[in-house]
């Protein structure tokens, strides 16, 4: 979905929140559009949960403006609750109800609920509809969390660290459910500290660290990741070296590397030369900075500036 022209779902300006003397949010501004899957990425303690809990109406802000569908969560919490579904970081259920009963119970709280069977199909729990909550696996319980959040047919869904603590297959289960939400046109705000999760799910993401947004954009182009130079790596048998005019540096014993401005030309030169001298390039590799590289750089920078700010 092209959401660049969609109306704004969430508008946040200069949001601040302190816990005692500890500033959890130091002026966060953000716009999230309708139909977007937006990921808020950041290390533990960065302020992700505080941020979403202010949008959800669980916490009150100290400063700034917050509007969700034009509603200020501090002033009209009830109006907001009917349009929003929330999956908290960890939260229990009545363990003795079954799956269908749990969804039906939460549906009954909303003015325009979505039919229970439809929801169970969306999260792939039809076969478990009569299973008690206490007998569900971790991944199934998380899917039920999402089902309950969908009960009121919300326009906006908050998912706070939906897969933290899960094994890889349970994570995949939950990811597929979240991916399917895109087809419903829901706006999804998801917090995570997993790069791959943000990359796999999000249309757009923001990196938050020490209470500030340090970067915002498309997962593929975040912080100019797409414009950074690719690196070509390979190694050669002992005593063989590429012609110096190619510009490869020997990083370690017989391991070569170059930051390539023209990847095709550099690879052509390299492979032609390798064929002519008869060496193989078995471990030839072209890398771009991963989202993780960019993320670690971004959060490290803020770490330093934060330390400086505290000192001064």
């Amino acid at each position: 979905m092209n959401s660049a022209q969609s109306p704004v779902a969430i508008e946040v300006k200069d949001l601040t929140k302190n816990y005692g003397t500890n500033a959890a949010l130091r002026g966060v501004s953000l716009e999230i559009r309708q139909g977007e899957i937006f990921a808020l990425l950041g290390p533990n303690g960065a302020g992700k949960t505080t941020f979403v809990e202010i949008l959800e109406g669980f916490r009150h802000r100290d400063g700034g403006d917050v509007h969700v569908f034009g509603i200020d969560p501090d002033h009209q919490p009830m109006a907001l609750k009917t349009r929003v579904g929330i999956v908290l970081q960890s939260s229990g259920m009545d363990r003795y109800l079954n799956v269908a009963e749990s969804v039906a119970m939460y549906s009954s709280y909303y003015p325009h609920p979505r039919p229970v069977d439809e929801i169970l199909a969306l999260v792939g729990l039809e076969a478990k509809r009569n299973e008690r909550v206490l007998r569900l696996s971790g991944g199934q319980q998380r899917r039920l969390d999402v089902a309950i959040a969908l009960a009121g047919n919300p326009d906006l869904l908050f998912l706070d660290e939906p897969t933290t603590g899960f094994d890889p297959s349970a994570r995949r289960e939950v990811w597929e459910v979240i991916k399917n939400l895109r087809g419903l046109g829901k706006t999804v705000v998801l917090t995570t500290h997993f790069m791959d999760e943000a990359q796999y799910l999000a249309d757009r993401l923001a990196v938050i660290a020490y209470g500030r947004i340090v970067a915002e954009g498309d997962p593929a182009t975040l912080a100019g990741r797409d414009r950074r130079l690719a690196t070509v790596h390979f190694s050669l048998p002992a005593g063989v070296a590429p012609p110096p005019e190619f510009g490869f540096n020997e990083k370690a014993n017989n391991v070569f590397e170059v930051s390539s401005k023209q990847v095709a030309q550099d690879l052509f030169n390299l492979t032609s030369w390798a064929l002519s001298v008869g060496v193989d390039l078995a471990d030839l590799r072209v890398d771009r900075p991963t989202l993780e590289d960019v993320y670690l750089e971004l959060t490290a920078e803020v770490d330093d500036s934060n330390v400086l700010a505290v000192r001064s």
Partner: protein, 256 residues
């Protein structure tokens, strides 16, 4: 959905979860009935003075005492432990993120607890009538009995809500609830009748806390002792106090 329909619906789900949970079904429901059978079988043939001029079979005394205990168990214990566990596991916080008004949700637990209390009292009374020829209250004394029952149930629910404000986490819930109620049940003559030579301090404890007043009010209907409106007033005052404490301090989020 309007508030009444929402409340009915909520009670339905609380009820389902209650009977399926072995802990609540056993400790709240079966426990008072088990004590009823044990005490009446063990001590039923003795008699006890309920006023300077009247003696009744101890079995009748226990039918009333266990009815009172059943209400306390269904309201105070059930609500305090259940709600503390729900709060600790995040059920309450999840609910807070939905449009159901907090009052309706809480009222759902309260109505359900009163419903369980009424069933327990009915079973207890039926048991007493069938096996020990206890006479059931009728007419005006039945009305007063029911009034005491409802005021007591509301009060012990309110105290249950209030005590959850003091419970730090789910693990501490059964300990705090039992530590707060068990000694008072003994000191108020619920399990062992307070004789005329009970120590003064014990009599005062029984006078201050609501349990003995509640039991005496229930007893008036069953046994025909004088119904004392002061008992209702004292029980209701505790209920009001419990309500005010919970209104001020109740939290929907885990206390960490």
């Amino acid at each position: 959905m309007n508030s009444i329909a929402m409340l009915q619906n909520q009670v339905k789900y609380v009820n389902k979860a209650f009977w399926r949970n072995p802990a609540s079904a056993f400790f709240t429901f079966a426990f008072p009935l088990m004590f009823l059978v044990i005490f009446t079988s063990l001590l039923g043939h003795h008699s006890i003075k309920v006023s300077p001029t009247r003696s009744v079979d101890l079995s009748t005394y226990y039918v009333v005492s266990m009815a009172a205990y059943a209400v306390i168990s269904a309201c105070y214990n059930n609500i305090a432990v259940g709600l503390a566990i729900q709060r600790d596991s995040g059920v309450l916080k999840r609910t807070r993120g939905t449009p159901i008004p907090g009052g309706i949700y809480i009222l759902g637990r309260l109505v359900h607890a009163i419903f369980v209390s009424v069933i327990l009292v009915a079973i207890t009374a039926a048991y007493g009538t069938l096996f020990y020829h206890a006479s059931l209250p009728t007419g005006w004394s039945l009305a007063k009995f029911l009034l005491m029952l409802i005021v007591g149930a509301l009060t012990f629910c309110a105290l249950g809500f209030a005590v959850t404000c003091l419970i730090p986490n789910a693990d501490a819930a059964p300990a705090i609830v039992n530590a707060s109620i068990l000694p008072l049940l003994f000191l108020s003559g619920i399990f062992i009748a307070l004789s005329s030579n009970a120590p003064t301090w014990m009599v005062w404890v029984a006078r201050i806390f609501p349990i003995r007043h509640f039991a005496l009010g229930m007893q008036a209907g069953f046994v025909g002792t004088t119904f004392n409106w002061m008992d209702v007033v004292i029980v209701a005052a505790w209920g009001l106090g419990g309500f005010l404490v919970s209104y001020r301090f109740f939290s929907w989020e885990p206390q960490r």
